[in-house]
């Protein structure tokens, strides 16, 4: 069976009618116990399993997913990868992630199609230009690439945007991060799954965790739709369902679950080179390799576990798009959907112990955790293997809500996934 993807194997399999490719990962029966059980087969859970094996030599590991791999937010997101954050703590976290993404296709032997086409966040007034300059300076001080653009430069890079003088919010300039871009969401989940499986990790789909098993106050395993599974340590990476999971052992979290929506248009000839976010319209857009516009916006401001789109936000995001690029007014949508995202008060993630011994949390990524999958997995694997924080994950401990040491990116860098 051919396993590795290489030019030679592609040619060889091409000549053999592609009959030699095996399955990318196994479908094992759950074992009665593992050293580490990870709940949630999204990007974060699968990346964690991969780095547990790769960085810590832990292979007796299971990932339990109630549905199919990447069927949560990982397979529903608009795939923007960037590290244009404000605070040093966030810059360290998200830039670690971008760096890992830069080598990921090679590391996993799986093409995650990370395309560093750049991202522009526009500014629409003189005060916003001041804030943009502050953002650029903060990013550079944190060692992250950033450039300040004036209106002419934005126009040269993205001529499809509207520069009409009578615009409600005329473009004055923007912030460009050249290393930002997009990736292929499914490939990130599948690439990590395949590499983790090859390292010996059991990936078990259609296996929902119904309860956490506590013994003498310690979490020692999980009850699932496929029976009881014991664990040395349990890690939860269940995004929008984090409150439900933590609630099983009486832990309350500073998380609200909201629907976040996205849209894809019919395929068009190339109109857009980069990812563009126009904050006053609450809309951002990129163009996929197939030509479809991938469009996103802000959260529904109504707590929800209803994983589907709805009209009010559709109206807001698409009216924003038609203001940004009036030339797209007649473009038709192909699909519209939502994912349930886990939002914290400071829009920063939660990584660390849950308060119950033996149970660790990787959650709170909210609207922006796709870009963080490699770093989230890397740091969560460290936590599960060592029992203590990596320096980069320490500021994101749950205890920050007691000490007041919030990493308030919601206020500092606003929405943008």
């Amino acid at each position: 069976m051919t396993k590795t993807y290489s030019a030679f194997n592609l040619l060889r399999e091409g000549l053999r009618a592609n009959k030699g490719w095996g399955r990318a990962w196994r479908t094992p029966e759950p074992k009665p116990s593992y050293d580490v059980v990870i709940i949630g087969g999204g990007g974060h859970g699968l990346a964690t399993a991969y780095y547990l094996a790769k960085n810590h030599g832990l292979r007796n590991v299971a990932v339990l997913e109630k549905g199919w791999l990447g069927g949560g937010n990982t397979g529903r997101n608009t795939t923007v990868i960037r590290s244009n954050y404000f605070y040093p703590e966030s810059a360290a976290l998200y830039d670690l992630s971008v760096k890992l993404y830069e080598g990921l296709s090679k590391d996993l032997n799986y093409n995650v199609m990370f395309s560093q086409r750049g991202m522009i966040v526009t500014a629409h007034s003189e005060p916003e230009m001041e804030m943009a300059a502050r953002q650029v300076n903060a990013m550079r001080l944190n060692g992250v690439d950033a450039e300040l653009l004036d209106a002419a430069e934005v126009r040269r890079l993205e001529p499809a945007l509207s520069f009409r003088a009578d615009m409600r919010h005329p473009i004055h300039g923007g912030v460009l991060q050249k290393r930002a871009g997009t990736g292929r969401h499914d490939a990130v989940a599948w690439g990590y799954a395949r590499a983790a499986d090859a390292a010996g990790v059991d990936i078990i789909q259609n296996c929902e965790v119904l309860d956490l098993i506590l013994e003498a106050g310690r979490c020692v395993g999980v009850n699932t739709t496929r029976g009881e599974i014991r664990a040395g340590v349990v890690g939860a990476a269940v995004a929008g369902h984090s409150s439900v999971l933590a609630g099983m052992v009486g832990v309350g979290l500073p998380i609200t679950s909201y629907a976040l929506q996205a849209f894809v248009s019919e395929p068009l000839k190339p109109v857009l080179n980069r990812v563009v976010l126009c904050p006053p319209y609450g809309t951002y857009v990129s163009q996929s390799d197939k030509g479809g516009l991938v469009i996103g916006g802000g959260l529904d401001r109504v707590p929800s576990y209803g994983q589907r789109g709805n009209m009010p936000m559709q109206e807001e995001v698409l009216s924003g798009l038609s203001e940004m690029m009036p030339m797209l007014n007649k473009v038709k949508l192909l699909r519209h959907w939502a994912g349930i995202v886990d939002v914290t008060p400071d829009s920063s993630p939660i990584l660390g112990p849950s308060g119950v011994e033996g149970l660790f949390l990787n959650c709170g990524w909210g609207t922006g955790g796709f870009k963080a999958i490699p770093a989230g997995g890397y740091l969560f694997a460290h936590l599960l293997a060592e029992g203590t924080h990596h320096e980069i994950s320490r500021p994101f401990d749950l205890s920050r809500f007691d000490t007041g040491y919030l990493v308030d990116e919601g206020a500092a860098s606003g929405i943008a996934h």
Partner: protein
């Protein structure tokens, strides 16, 4: 658009309504001091329930706060009542 019931104005378009918070959160008594953990819990912790929820909403045209009971998965409205009396 979905129709929500305002207890004062009747059935109205969902875009006229604003979610204010979960029902039943009471501010800790700070006269004798309150621990950081209790204060943090009051400020930040959410029940964030999946299923039947009871919440405080505002109907913006009449500016009245009221209790909306709904299903957080299906979004079906279960009931709506004035806030006065609900806290008891």
């Amino acid at each position: 658009m979905q129709i929500f019931p305002c207890p004062f104005c009747g059935p109205r378009d969902e875009r006229e309504f604003h979610f204010a918070g979960e029902l039943g959160k009471t501010r800790p008594d700070t006269r004798d001091g309150v621990s950081d953990a209790d204060w943090a819990r009051y400020l930040h912790e959410q029940r964030n329930e999946k299923g039947h929820v009871r919440e405080v909403w505002m109907h913006m045209p009449c500016s009245e706060l009221f209790v909306l009971e709904r299903d957080s998965v299906s979004m079906a409205v279960i009931g709506s009542s004035p806030l006065r009396g609900a806290a008891e």
